[in-house]
Amino acid sequence: MNDIEKNLLLQVADLHDVPMGAYNIREDGALHSRQSTESIEIITKKDKPGIDIRIKPGTKNESVHIPVLITRTGYSEMVYNDFFIGEDSDVLIVAGCGIHNGGCETSQHDGIHTFYLGKNARIKYVEKHYGEGSGTGERIMNPQTVVYMEEGSYIEMETVQIKGVDSTKRHTKIEAAAGCEILITEKLMTHDKQTAVSEMDVLLEGEGSRARVISRSVAQDESEQTFYPRVKGMSDCFGHVQCDSIIMHNAKVRSIPEISANHVNAQLIHEAAIGKIAGDQLLKLMTLGLSEEEAEERILSGFLK
């Protein structure tokens, strides 16, 4: 790997080199490298671009890394990845896409990740998006995540987009059976003229299913963000949506949470707030010896931590 590739890998997967355990590294549409393990099998799809990831029932303490790197200007792709998570397994899945665009043409990654969680399966799914490169070409990422959860399964989903993605449209859809638990944390920062739209549909179908959605964002410069987190309760369930945005400069933020209950015992809450950095927060950190710029940076990084 060259330095550009290594840095992208570090940014999207916290990896310094090829990871331990199962992995699949895709670069400019081609397979860079892959490793399956005894219990995690990665297979190339035959009918369309993408892979199937099959995790055997009862697999515990294992991880799968499937970073996507794009370094060629003008390259666009649409990828389908399907995850079959066996019953009672407990695994970490790290996806993510890094685009280095040094040219003047648009580079784009669109992906649909579909998860089938077996009974009592648990996953932590981390997805980081990152863009860089001095070229004028745009860096676009449109991820879709679809999750079907069988009884008693658990997903913790963490999505992070901090830098360099010019345009993103994200859609997350989750269907939860009885006793399922969902924790989604979304962290987003946009700057310059970037735009980001994040839609989310969480369907709490089963008795005792629970969902928490925590969305934190920072909009800087001329950027624009729109959030549509929607949670629907179809049974005796609990859902909590919390959206917080810090707005700066000439940015625009829209937050349109929706909760809808179709059952008398559905308990749903949403909170949404947009505001600039409070003056007394800056002043407090300045009394600790930070400059105003340093104070701002610490407040933002704490907020997005």
Binding site: R216, D244, L283, K284, M286, T287, L288, L290, G302, F303
Partner: protein, 249 residues
């Protein structure tokens, strides 16, 4: 050494102009423990903020001079004053969504603190540490907890002037004892550190080398505990004794 000369602070309000601080003259020698007391609205917080540089230009006019160790502070921002060794614990500290107690204490210390260093700081303000290290400084903290973390941020720094603004507010009795003990220890151990505490608490007042009584924007009395305490015990403002007896009021 803190030297304040002819300090005036005037704001515009509905009735035209209001004098918040009126010709304050005050010298405080290095290493002293001073308590500033006085009724609500008398200008104590304004005086502390003027020293720390926290009064923004647009909120009114400040004239006069404040020198710290011979250096004129006028024209110096908050950061500059902080770097001279001045510190101020807010009467109403801000909350920081997402930031953890350990993050804030490390910012205050100017380096990443180790676990036992965090613990030492938090135990000085009566917070049982393991519960608090990873807590976020958001609305999940009570007023008293927030206040004690605020005090810990001053203890984390290496400063020569500490100004605490009503540190007792919202704090339970047990933690309050711990806190007064901490102030006593700092005063004893850090001989060069000047401590200014704005307080209504008799137990804090009794620790002081000197009491300064502020009333309606002016210093009305200075003296030792023996001289000033009987005066404030008797003093009533609009027929109300302002000195706090209980801690949790």
């Amino acid at each position: 050494m803190l030297e304040i000369r002819n300090l005036n602070y005037t704001v515009k309000d509905e009735r035209g102009k209001a004098d918040i601080l009126k010709n304050i003259n005050l010298d405080i020698e290095a290493g002293k423990f001073v308590v500033i007391t006085g009724p609500n609205g008398s200008g104590k917080t304004s005086l502390a903020k003027a020293i720390m540089g926290l009064i923004p230009g647009e909120s009114g006019e400040i004239t006069g001079s404040i020198k710290y160790n011979g250096q004129e502070l006028t024209g110096l921002g908050v950061t500059g004053r902080a770097r001279l060794g001045i510190s101020y614990g807010f009467q109403q500290p801000p909350r920081f969504k997402g930031m953890q107690v350990t993050d804030l204490l490390s910012i205050a210390a100017g380096k990443i603190l180790k676990r036992d260093e965090h613990c030492a700081l938090l135990s000085q303000v009566g917070l049982c540490t393991d519960d608090y290290l990873k807590r976020e400084i958001d609305t999940s903290l009570s007023g008293g907890e927030l206040k004690r973390i605020e005090i810990a941020t001053l203890l984390a720094r290496d400063v020569s002037l500490m100004i605490f603004d009503e540190p007792e507010a919202g704090i339970d009795l047990w933690s309050f004892s711990k806190l007064t003990e901490t102030f006593k220890i700092i005063h004893k151990q850090k001989k060069e550190t000047t401590i200014i505490i704005i307080s209504h608490q008799e137990r804090i007042i009794k620790l002081a080398d000197e009491i300064i009584l502020v009333s309606a924007g002016a210093i009305t009395k200075r003296g030792s505990v023996e001289e000033v305490l009987p005066l404030i015990m008797n003093e009533t403002v609009s027929d109300c004794v302002y000195l706090g007896g209980a801690v949790n009021e």
